[in-house]
Symmetry: C2
Subunit: 151 residues, 2 copies
DNA sequence: TAATAATAATTAGTATGACAAATATATGGA
DNA sequence: TCCATATATTTGTCATACTAATTATTATTA
């Protein structure tokens, strides 16, 4: 049964390495943002204006973490908070022109950096990995619906 | 090429969920330590006295992080720092009797908790996962010149 | 041997992650 | 309408990462 400890460790270690490698490359190339901040920008680009709660769900962050990342992005003038038209508790997070330009400027480089981790793996491997990771995620599901990623 | 971003996200999200679930169970059962602290204790049990640098490598932590986790474990009297016999820059981290008892007391429960993530997967899945994660880890090895731990 | 470089550990600073609590607002029921 | 409850966000606290810099010590080398 000790083996499950080892798998958990391996998973944790690999995820940290992937993130750490990407962040290292971001820093070397002076992108001026973190990997997690990039994920926020990308989601805003894809889904347009979102409330912070929605954005947190898309990005897989909890709300306090998202609040703080948005604070940093606002400080960098890459996004801005707008008043929600019907709910005064809520903000709409909006990508600024500078934010949009940042995405345009970095997209290709980010894709290159991300690709590095996945060398020497084939399509069957990717399918295995997606299935296994989604199984693990579902095994530990708290009470949300099915949030498996397929693509 | 965007797919690699999605894989990276999936990996990160799954690793976080696995750790978060384990920590949640640790808290519910009032183990009094974190998942990462547990990993340190287990490595000390397995490899006996180690310098902090060695311990960091075995645990896949960097040295500043390890220093702080050891600080916390020292505060809980589960480990102690001992003078290195031949190198005065270095400490030996030693498991106390209380640390040893903690391991004995929690091992079965930790194994149960860890097992939860790996339901609905078979031996072939584990072999795939280990191979794929190790491939990713190796893919990112050179650029940072960091430690490689055999999984 | 003296100067220099390398190493182990620590400290400092920033970012993320988890959880709890506080605040303001919205919603639903009596 | 009033009140209890739910929700969106923020704030606080602790722990983990990563980087850079500092300190003390060891190793190297001119």
């Amino acid at each position: 049964m000790e083996q499950y400890n080892a798998y958990s460790f391996l998973l944790d270690r690999t995820a940290r390495r992937v993130k750490q490698y990407a962040q290292y490359q971001f820093n070397c190339r002076e992108f001026g943002i973190t990997v997690d901040q990039w994920a926020i920008l990308k989601n805003l680009k894809q889904y347009a204006d979102l409330s912070q709660k929605e954005l947190a769900e898309y990005c897989g962050k909890d709300q306090p973490t998202l609040t703080r990342i948005v604070d940093l992005l606002v400080g960098k003038k890459l996004v801005e908070r707008r008043i929600h038209p019907t709910d005064r508790r809520s903000f709409i997070v909006h990508l600024t022109a500078a934010g949009d330009q940042k995405i345009e400027a970095l997209s290709n480089s980010v894709n290159e950096i991300r690709m590095q981790a996945w060398q020497n793996l084939n399509e069957a491997d990717f399918e295995h990995l997606k299935r296994i990771l989604n199984t693990i995620y579902t095994n530990l599901e708290l009470d949300n619906g099915n949030t498996s990623i397929d693509g």
